[in-house]
């Protein structure tokens, strides 16, 4: 009787435990075809549960030697299977739990140490797993969990009937620590309102006074952490409707809460002040997915619908401004007005997808196979827009128009909600044939399209003003009729465009030259069409070797980009041979060439103020803003590119208990038509070695080493100026000036090499092209940057069973160094000798080194219990010039405030003592 009660109690415990886990959980464990959330675990349990179980020396075959995969890699010896305990009700069960205490430096706060894990000193339930089964009914329940109570905890439960149906549920938390050296000036992180702790919003007296006040406030502010935690749960139901039909449906929900590094700028182009602020995160995402899958001997069909609803609980974030800012554009409104700023954070959005995949074997047609995929997606958001400013701006004017209550309501916008939408369509058709047993040929056509139907015009219906009020009203970008005499009729008012009432055609009909050519007046609805045509063949040379060749042409048609069309031809050859004695080789070589239609360096005129009127012609007009970019600049995603990629892998079985692997990648890209932008050669090479030694059930050793080197080069040009009627002198030292040589220049032997006078007729050509004599883009002001990465990663591990204890060691050492070197002409850029001394030939190297040692010593106490001594050592070294000096100099200039001191070195030794109990 007692036994029966105990048994029922155990079952009850299992069921309650499973239910609790289930309740704690949410979302769908994905499969390899759809969805994320394919793994549960954390840093101390990357393989979900306990991986220090005893191995079976008999292996799978009853003989000590291990088996290999078809490629030749050793399978690990299997764990000794657990004998489940039986209950009178017919259920059997087994499980384990590991709990104990963590100490040492587990509470290390360094952001790199804590990036995605949450260790702390104290009691710790590291992992547990339970499984139960009722064999006569084919029913099962499984539950796993770990990191209980920490921000990286995870739980999963699965129950159902084998080969019939199952329900999977999970709950998983993932922390992401961005920085631990952030000095926050605000309270309310994580909310929609950041209020200054000790400073006066809008600053005090002047920027010169405010700056030191901020420094003093920071001196009294401790470093803190900016981080968020993803809390995600879900449930998925799978059922076999019949032998051929399967159904699945899932729901998941993720909450993301916390704060991450962010920043704010005031003024127009940014000159009004900038300060690092935190961004509050409070997201909620619902994902729904359902699918039907069919498969018989000839036909396979997948039908799937998905919806993802993203909700941002902080639609707008208001923050107190600690700066005494500088305003521009707006007149009559004191800078102290701007005590706060407001962000329109990521809007709520909805995503829907319907997808069908079909495959049909064609046994009577060259043993062929036909596949077809059609997918339709919609991305949509219709968030309510916010006014350009939260301030009434009473007493102010912009270009003579009152700002009072003209910018603080959504009546100031061309529309009150975003009504943004992108529709995506995919059609993918494939046919594979086998004309002979040894030959497979395949062809494929793929069409992918995104269609963006979002439209927004930057014009204020209340005032008729084109342009945008920037950064809460502290700056602005408003095209008005050009004021340089001769461009427009005498007496043209600054407000002349306004009368058109935001009607573009009416504005253009005025025929007035705008003040500048680069003011954004409407959004650019980027979208594209992608076509892929593939033809390939695979020839079986022998039972173990094959050759394959694939030719693919990829075409893009893009709206509103520099090239209407690009095409890339890709030829790939591959070879696989598993018949080599004691080895397998796989190698491929790919050559790709991307070209395209004519490159229009500036396709954006319709979206900028240049489209409001004719080109300027008057002498003295600064026309640089009409030339948005030089004609020889190439954006790398559209540029001509020739690329060679070689991949090779060799797996070698050195001995019955030892295998090694070598992998090599050589990737070399050239941009033959890119004088400026990413250009020259881009390389990415790697060599990896892998070793696996498994002499017995008691001993296993592995090791790996990866070397990676990459290089990227780019060239830029610091623009000069372009004014109609102005003569530019190009000096022998590279400098450009509009004045005559000074006595000092003459004394230094500097001469005028050439001159260029800009005219109304030729300014687009003369200034738009980089050349030795271009006033705007003189090649002497060219600079170039070479970025070279080198990464080395070494890893090794040992598993050793002493009999009375088991040792498990894992160690990785990774080191990365990025060298950024540059070249420039100091004289041409007007740099002084003192500046040159600081500039040098490059930025300080970016470096990252990290060592991680995990050691565990497992000492069995009984058949069902063991203690595990755990030791983790981590050491990280990091150098990043972006943060050089920030801690000491957080306000390096007036109205420039940096609060994140960046990543820091760390060293941490974590010790743990765990008790493992199996039941």
């Amino acid at each position: 009787m007692k036994a029966r009660i105990r048994s029922r109690l155990k079952i009850l415990t299992l069921c309650v435990g499973a239910a609790v886990v289930q309740l704690a959980a949410a979302a769908a464990q994905a499969d390899t075809g759809v969805g994320v959330d394919t793994v549960l675990g954390n840093a101390l349990n990357p393989g979900t549960g306990n991986t220090m179980r005893d191995r079976d020396p008999a292996g799978l075959s009853g003989q000590p030697q291990t088996r290999r995969t078809p490629t030749g890699q050793l399978y690990e010896l299997p764990y000794l299977p657990v004998t489940p305990k039986a209950t009178e009700s017919g259920w059997t069960y087994s499980g384990s739990v590991e709990a104990g205490v963590l100490g040492g430096d587990a509470n290390e706060k360094n952001a790199t140490f804590r990036m995605y894990k949450d260790l702390d000193n104290g009691l710790y339930l590291n992992n547990f797993e339970v499984e139960a089964e009722k064999a006569d009914e084919a029913r099962f329940v499984e539950a796993v969990g770990g990191g209980v109570g920490r921000n990286d905890q995870y739980f999963g439960v699965e129950f159902g009937r084998y080969n019939d149906w199952k329900v999977e549920a999970f709950y998983n938390e993932t922390p992401h620590v961005f920085t631990s050296t952030y000095r926050s000036l605000w309270s309310g992180l994580g909310t929609d309102n950041l209020t200054l702790n000790a400073l006066t919003p809008g600053g005090t007296t002047s920027a010169a006074v405010t700056g030191p006040n901020i420094v003093n406030a920071l001196a009294a502010t401790e470093n803190s952490e900016l981080s968020l935690v993803r809390k995600k749960g879900g449930v998925r139901y799978d059922t076999n409707l019949s032998d051929a039909w399967k159904f699945f449906g899932s729901y998941s929900n993720e909450k993301r809460e916390g704060a991450r590094p962010f920043a704010a700028v005031f003024g127009g182009g940014g000159g009004g002040g900038n300060v690092e602020i935190p961004e509050s995160i409070d997201y909620n995402t619902h994902d729904l997915l359902a699918g039907l899958r069919y498969s018989d001997s000839l036909t396979s069909l997948n039908l799937q619908v998905a919806a993802s609803l993203f909700r941002n609980n902080i639609d707008t974030m208001t923050f107190d401004n600690p700066l005494f800012i500088t305003t521009n554009t707006i007149a009559g409104v004191p800078a102290t007005t701007f005590t706060q700023g407001r962000y329109d954070l990521y809007p709520d959005n909805d995503y829907y997808n319907a997808k069908g995949e079909y495959a049909r074997a064609l046994p009577d047609f060259y043993s062929g196979r036909f596949t077809a995929v059609a997918s339709l997606s919609r991305l949509r958001q219709n968030d309510n827009l916010i006014p350009p400013s939260m301030y009434p701006l009473t007493g102010g004017t912009i270009n003579g128009v009152s700002t009072a209550d003209n910018w603080n309501t959504t009546a100031a916008l061309s529309k009150s909600s975003a009504d943004a939408e992108i529709n995506i369509r995919l059609l993918d058709l494939g046919l594979a044939l086998n004309p002979t047993d040894a030959l497979n040929v395949k062809g494929k056509v793929r069409y992918y399209e995104t269609k963006n139907s979002t439209e927004y015009w930057a014009c204020n219906p209340l005032t008729g003003q084109w342009g945008r009020l920037l950064n809460d009203g502290s700056g602005g970008n408003f095209p008005i009729p050009n004021a340089t005499a001769g461009n427009n009729p005498v007496g043209t008012l600054n407000t002349a465009y306004n009368a058109a009432g935001c009607n573009l055609a009416a504005t253009q009909a005025l025929g007035l030259v705008p003040s500048a050519g680069n003011g954004g007046i409407r959004n650019i609805p980027f979208d594209y069409k992608q076509f892929n045509y593939t033809l390939g063949a695979d020839y079986r040379v022998s039972t173990a070797s094959s050759l394959n060749a694939t030719f693919e042409r990829e075409e893009y048609e893009r709206e509103y980009r520099e090239r209407d069309k690009t095409w890339e031809d890709k030829l790939k050859l591959g070879y696989t041979n598993r018949g080599i004695e004691d080895g397998t080789v796989r190698a491929s070589y790919e050559r790709t060439n991307r070209r395209g239609s004519e490159y229009h360096p500036d396709p954006y005129d319709p979206f900028f103020s240049t489209s409001l009127g004719p080109l300027p012609t008057a002498t003295g007009t600064n026309v640089a803003s009409w030339i948005h970019i030089m004609d020889s600049f190439r954006k790398f995603d559209l540029a001509d590119r020739d690329q060679n990629i070689l991949n090779a892998r060799f797996n070698y079985m050195v001995a019955t208990d030892l295998d090694v692997g070598v992998a090599l990648q050589y990737k070399d890209a050239r941009y033959p038509d890119s004088a400026y932008g990413r250009n020259d050669r881009q390389k990415q090479n790697s060599l990896s070695l892998d070793l696996n030694y498994q002499p017995s059930a008691e001993v296993a050793v592995y090791g790996f080493y990866s070397y990676q080197a990459s290089r990227m080069h780019q060239t830029g040009l610091q623009a000069n100026a372009c004014v109609i009627g102005t003569t530019y002198n190009f000096l022998s030292n590279g400098a450009v000036q509009t004045t005559a040589l000074t006595a000092a220049q003459i004394a230094a032997g500097i001469t005028i090499v050439s001159t260029t006078t800009v005219t109304a007729a030729d300014f687009l050509a003369v200034c738009g092209a980089a050349s030795d004599t271009s006033p705007l883009y003189p090649t002497s002001r060219t600079w170039d940057v070479t970025s070279e990465d080198r990464n080395d990663t070494l890893g090794m591990g040992l598993r050793y069973d002493f009999g009375k204890a088991k040792l498990d060691l894992n160690y990785t050492y990774s080191t990365s160094r990025t060298q950024i070197s540059y070249g420039y002409n100091a004289a041409a850029l007007g740099l002084t000798a003192a500046q040159e001394a600081l500039i040098g030939s490059g930025m300080p190297d970016l470096e990252f080194k990290q060592q991680i040692l995990d050691a565990s010593l497992l000492v069995p106490i009984s058949k069902a219990a063991a203690t595990r001594l755990f030791y983790r050592y981590e050491k990280g070294t990091i150098r990043d010039w972006h943060y050089d000096g920030v801690a000491q100099n957080p306000v390096p200039a007036t109205n420039a405030v940096y609060l994140d001191a960046g990543p820091q070195d760390y060293k941490a030794s974590v010790v743990g003592l765990f008790l493992q109990v199996a039941f």
């Binding site: 759809v34 979900t48 009853g62 299997p78 009937r161 990521y346 920037l470 959004n523 990648q665």
Partner: protein, 326 residues
């Protein structure tokens, strides 16, 4: 050992005869031929798992705990599944009669040498379609990977999926060592920390994309975890809308935020306008440290660099956000 093997073979043959006799009496006539007397050219017949276990009990000790065993033994739905061992290894009568002949049984190890196509066909007889619909012609298939290059259906080495290693990522790393190294870089996806696996983004069984992506495009792979960046926004950033990996290195990077290069240089690979700062030469005298010794700081160099002002670089929904500043 040799005696032991012989004994097990004898036991297997006896069990096979018994199984076939039983089949002859109660089962399908087509499967009734006794293996001992079958002509060499006749197709092999099923002998039943008892015959297999005469020799392969050590394997069964592990196999019995796998999902395959549970399905086959506890709730088989068709004749194939009812064969248990032979569901995957094929009819065993000839193997029983001549155990060393590698043509007589399908095995999934290097040592045995069953052709890959034959191995995979065995797996696909149950596992075709679904998430494996695109396996034929996929990168892995073209490289002649066997299912058992990643899976070990005979034992529970992983929590799920009958993988050959303890986790999905460890399994992938056995070939993709370069990616393992990238996950060790300064910024990386939380794969080593057990919070993601390669399969969150890739379908190793094939997809309509060459990198075996799980969704129709790179961006649609990224959006499930980065739904806030999905938009669409009033003000879009062209390279962001088209392809996240224009700026991000998805496995890991020596730069912050998995960027392919350092800021501001990365941004300058596309931006060099005639007016304003993006085309300027940014340099070492503009750090906060240099500002202490005579340099002049630049917000485009320090900290978040260009994103000190252009914070909403993935797109802005602010009516004034054309330059991603609000």
């Amino acid at each position: 050992m040799r005696i032991q093997n012989s004994l097990c073979i004898i036991r297997a043959r006896l069990a096979a005869v018994a199984a076939v006799t039983a089949l002859a009496l109660f089962g399908s006539p087509a499967m009734a031929a006794a293996p001992e007397s079958a002509p060499e050219s006749a197709p092999a017949t099923y002998v039943g798992e008892k015959a297999c276990l005469q020799c392969h009990e050590p394997a069964n000790k592990h196999f019995g705990h796998t999902l395959h065993a549970k399905v086959f033994r506890l709730n088989p739905k068709n004749d194939t599944e009812r064969q248990v061992c032979e569901a995957c290894h094929g009819p065993g009568s000839k193997h029983v009669s001549k155990v060393d002949d590698k043509n007589f049984i399908i095995s999934f190890t290097r040592e045995w040498g069953t052709p890959i196509e034959k191995q995979n066909t065995q797996c696909l007889q149950c596992h075709k379609g679904g998430q494996r619909l695109h396996w034929p012609g996929s990168t892995h298939a073209s490289n002649k990977l066997g299912c058992s290059d990643c899976h070990n259906p005979m034992a529970n080495a992983s929590a799920k999926g009958l993988l050959k290693k303890a986790s999905i990522s460890e399994t992938c790393y056995t070939c993709h060592q370069q990616q393992r190294a990238e996950f060790k870089k300064r910024s990386h996806m939380p794969v080593p920390e057990g919070k993601m696996s390669c399969e969150d983004c890739h379908n190793p069984h094939g997809s309509t994309t060459k990198p075996l992506l799980k969704a129709d495009s790179v961006n649609e792979v990224c959006y499930p975890c980065h739904a806030e960046k999905r938009g669409p926004f009033l003000w879009e950033h062209a390279p962001v809308r088209e392809n996240c990996i224009n700026c991000h290195s998805p496995h890991g990077s020596n730069h912050d935020k998995l960027l392919v290069s350092s800021r501001p240089q990365l941004c300058q690979q596309c931006h060099s306008p005639s007016v304003g700062h993006p085309g300027q030469f940014f340099r070492n005298d503009q750090t906060a440290a240099s500002a202490l010794i005579g340099g002049a700081q630049s917000a485009r160099v320090i900290g978040r660099s260009c994103q000190n002002c252009h914070t909403q670089i993935h797109g802005s929904n602010h009516p004034s956000g054309a330059r991603f500043q609000r």
